[in-house]
Symmetry: C2
Subunit: 356 residues, 2 copies
Amino acid sequence: MKYGNILGSSSIAFDQPVYIESSASIVGKKEGEGPLKDKFDMICQDPMFGTDTWEAAESSMQKEAASLAIGKAGLTPRDIRMVFAGDLLAQTVASSFGIAEMGIPFYGLYGACSTMGESLSLGAMAVAAGYGEHILCATSSHFASAEKEFRYPLGYGNQRPLSATWTVTGSGACILGALPPRDEDTPNASPLRKGGGCAVITGVTTGRVVDFGFRDSLNMGGCMAPAACDTIWQNLSDFHRTPSDYDAIVTGDLGLVGQKILLDLLKEKSVDISAVHQDCGLIIFDNETQDTHSGGSGCGCSAAVLASHLLPGVVSGKWNRILFVPTGAMLSKTSYNEGASVPGVAHAVVIEHKEL
Amino acid sequence: MKYGNILGSSSIAFDQPVYIESSASIVGKKEGEGPLKDKFDMICQDPMFGTDTWEAAESSMQKEAASLAIGKAGLTPRDIRMVFAGDLLAQTVASSFGIAEMGIPFYGLYGACSTMGESLSLGAMAVAAGYGEHILCATSSHFASAEKEFRYPLGYGNQRPLSATWTVTGSGACILGALPPRDEDTPNASPLRKGGGCAVITGVTTGRVVDFGFRDSLNMGGCMAPAACDTIWQNLSDFHRTPSDYDAIVTGDLGLVGQKILLDLLKEKSVDISAVHQDCGLIIFDNETQDTHSGGSGCGCSAAVLASHLLPGVVSGKWNRILFVPTGAMLSKTSYNEGASVPGVAHAVVIEHKEL
């Protein structure tokens, strides 16, 4: 048994790169009016996605995103060895009734809005170890199912503080594999292989749960920033890198408020990522015109931005190496109402451009 | 990249066995009055575990079980490379405020009552791939937090149908590693190494979510039996084994009702496991005297029975090879109230006696 892959205290570097064979994104109407509107695979105008409940709507969206990713890789569900998926709902029912219905061996995850980072990490670890030819990683969130789960009935029209984020209605899915995406010249060519370039996962950093004692569930950026700081710092330390070794360090959904805290916390550790920091929550909406306050959030936020915007950018060579760091806030209605704090967690995935 | 570990459609066989370095179990008063009362590490008479809420009680119990397992392996939390943990509560808050507080890189899981199977599977996969020297796998459930989460306020004193199971107040934790448990002759000897024998994980079968359309959340055994059948059948098929190749096939919490359905469903596939089948839910309570109807349930049920009863039995050589198959029912208050079905999932772990 070798431990050659272990770096520092929390990271793994893969001997062989794990290929991202395909990605797919499906979002709702509001997301489809934002800056990435031309990049999503599908924008659904019906917030119910043809179903009767918000939960079923999210399940339907997640399953469609997964199907699309499988199709874009030129595969069928039978080709997928296992799924790592999760969502924000209690008992992750969006996944249990979404992707899980596809009959693929299923590992359910809960990492709040960091779930796409957890899913990609475990998926990449499984592919790199030879546990599967093709592995599906996916998450979803839905504005209405999340408001119902964590906040107020939509009909109340509650006032939102400026620190609040807007849960993205969206799902992102990726197929990971040990072989490059299908070539442009073949039938079923994957859009994630262009001009000889593709995107690979070369390492991961597993996040710790970090609790600074914040209790404000309407300032989740603030609750999650300490965890993002911890994971990014750990990644740089474990891989012996500086921020400039990344063309972009992209957090999940810290928003405007959380971004400022993250940059400040890292500066206290003498690390300045301001030149390369981006946040999926600030990419997916135009805060000026879309009234989303601190930005977008939800595990569908980082997943949809990754699938539609980040991965094509890595494939094209716009970015050579990025650190994708989805961030999650650990709370439930019950923990919040009982006065518990809101700890954060963040999982980092190193994604690089690779010439074939 | 090799795929030598993959078997059939859903299983992995490890080249090198993954050692179970230690295990620990903590349960509540009722469980401590049952047949395994002399085997648990700790029986807590206070259902609040010294805290103010049921959720905090579960977190406290889970963290103590994890600490105990780490201590019994002669380790400290700093030695643990990563944790795979989960529970039944919404947004898995028992884990977020339990084990997660230990500052170990953390992957949160949700597999309902199958979570210990998921946790051991992913932990074993990670150890076998060289991603960690020591990995912690744990789950918990608490009767009162589960009743609050899924059913009725305790004060209602609701009537329970005979098909209902009783959620176990308990937590089980295991440390997995690539090296054998510490020797009896050394300080900090692990109780999981006796007379030269120990317990190892040699393979896993990842479960699919199976939905037979059952909608009765007070007959979870019935809801989960089809998934248990699918996973057990798949395990036997993938490993080319018959039921007699196992000294015991131990499901998680099917109870009396689910057990009967499982045996019937497997007989329809010409597989008879009646000679070797056991169920943790039927082991942990004495249904005759403890009024637990169909049996025990909850992800703490299979975890506590594994840690206290099954693993020592494998170490002693009482059983040479067992299949541990925790079973989960996928539902939430919301999915149930919206009339959704209750699909099941089961993850199987092959645990064998090994002479050192």
